[in-house]
Amino acid sequence: MIIVKELCKQFHNNMVLKGIDEHIERGEKVVIVGPSGSGKSTFLRCLNMLEVPTSGEIWFEGKLLTAPDTDIDKVRQKMGMVFQQFNLFPHKTVGQNIMLAPLKLGLMTEEEAQERAESLLKRIGLSDKIDSYPSQLSGGQQQRVAIVRALAMNPDVMLFDEPTSALDPEMVGEVLDFMHALADEGMTMVVVTHEMGFAKEVATRCLFMDEGKILEQAPPKEFFGSPKNARLQDFLSKVL
């Protein structure tokens, strides 16, 4: 579904990604872990071209995203993204946040979008917040709304960029539970996170990144149980 070939990304003189090759299949839940500054967020943001790669190729559903004539806006409609800072639109209500893209892009009628927003909000137990503004919600509620905003577009893959890192500890659970439920439904997910428990439980495959490279990847049991790479061993000994 997603194919990455020799991906490199350089910021000024700083080489952040040093040649990444990766295949992500439909239905996989790939969790990327690694120390901060390892390039994992940059890698994720390259997948939907929020960061433009310096070199290399990214393919999604048979389309080469790094080609200059690719309509990236069209491609992004199928790649949902969730950010660390939620990035809800503060001047729009919760309902408007969810309905905005499907309506603006002419993918749904007013009624369809309204219905979709209502059913998505019902699912996360926030039906009564449809006319609230994001600032009236807790962090955990905001992040769940941000997830359903992306889901409203019916994406084929969901990218999560440290979705719980900005949350108060007591709100991490509600967001992870929702992501867990999404995973169980078969959504293809790529998740950058520091939540090792989530990685163990939900991932079909874990990647360890350090200094711009993927140093090890394995199913979670093997990844956490018998890591081979010395740096991964060191990393796990610190975070577990």
Partner: protein
């Protein structure tokens, strides 16, 4: 000086229907300020958007250079000099009735440079994540700008823009230099006829003050309305 204040007020405002001079002058002042504000907002927004986009797109570098020249020249020279150049050089051949419009044009071009910086900083103050969130949903750059960025930028822009309106409105009092009969010029003419400076000058000062207070009040109302989504 004040023995005869009533008589002085009568001479300044009532005798020979002089109040009509003030009224006509006020209308000219408002007309110039109004046109200039509209022009300033249009030019300023255009320059701001051009600069924001040029910063992201290397192929638009030439546009950035043009905008920078405009900003540097306009902000680096006195508005009175710009007005005189516009009137005596650029539109030297224009008939005298056109003078208020020439003045409005000069002020509009001048204001645009200041508005551009206000709008640009207002756009830049919207967190980067807002653009990224919009784009990640598949919205185009233009759609995200219109529906996500601008409505939020307005809140940052409005207080400074209101201030610019007020500055511009008061600055128009120099148009008498190019023979436009605005409110200030009306007071000067009346002063030279009645030989009384106190009443006409204090009177127009109060008129300017009253209008500035009115603008301030209206802007505050508007700001409050836009702040609706900020309630916690």
């Amino acid at each position: 000086m004040f023995d005869n204040l009533g008589q002085q007020i009568y001479n300044t405002l009532v005798a020979n229907d002089r109040w009509t001079m003030f009224l006509d002058g006020l209308l000219v002042t408002l007309m110039i300020a109004g046109i200039a504000v509209l022009m300033g907002v249009v030019i300023g927004s255009f320059v701001a958007i051009a600069k924001v986009n040029a910063a992201r797109n290397k192929r638009l570098k030439w546009l950035n250079v043009i905008c920078d020249i405009y900003l540097t020249v306009i902000r680096g020279t006195p508005v009175l000099v710009q007005l005189l150049i516009m009137y005596y050089i650029v539109f030297a051949a224009a008939p005298i009735e056109m003078a208020p419009y020439v003045a409005a044009l000069a002020f509009g071009i001048n204001s645009g440079a200041y508005v551009a910086e206000i709008v640009r900083s207002g756009i830049m103050a919207v967190p980067r994540g807002q653009m990224e969130a919009g784009r990640s949903l598949g919205l185009t750059n233009g759609m995200t700008m219109r529906t996500i960025i601008f409505p939020q930028a307005i809140k940052n822009i409005l207080p400074a823009l209101g201030n610019e309106f007020i500055v511009l409105f008061k600055e128009t009092s120099i148009v008498g230099y190019v023979a436009v009969q605005d409110l200030t010029r009306a007071a000067e003419l009346v002063r030279s006829r009645t030989m009384d400076a106190f009443v006409p000058l204090i009177f127009i000062a109060l008129v300017y003050l009253g209008i500035v207070m009115l603008i301030t009040w209206a802007l505050r109302k508007l700001e409050k309305k836009l702040a609706q989504s900020d309630v916690r």
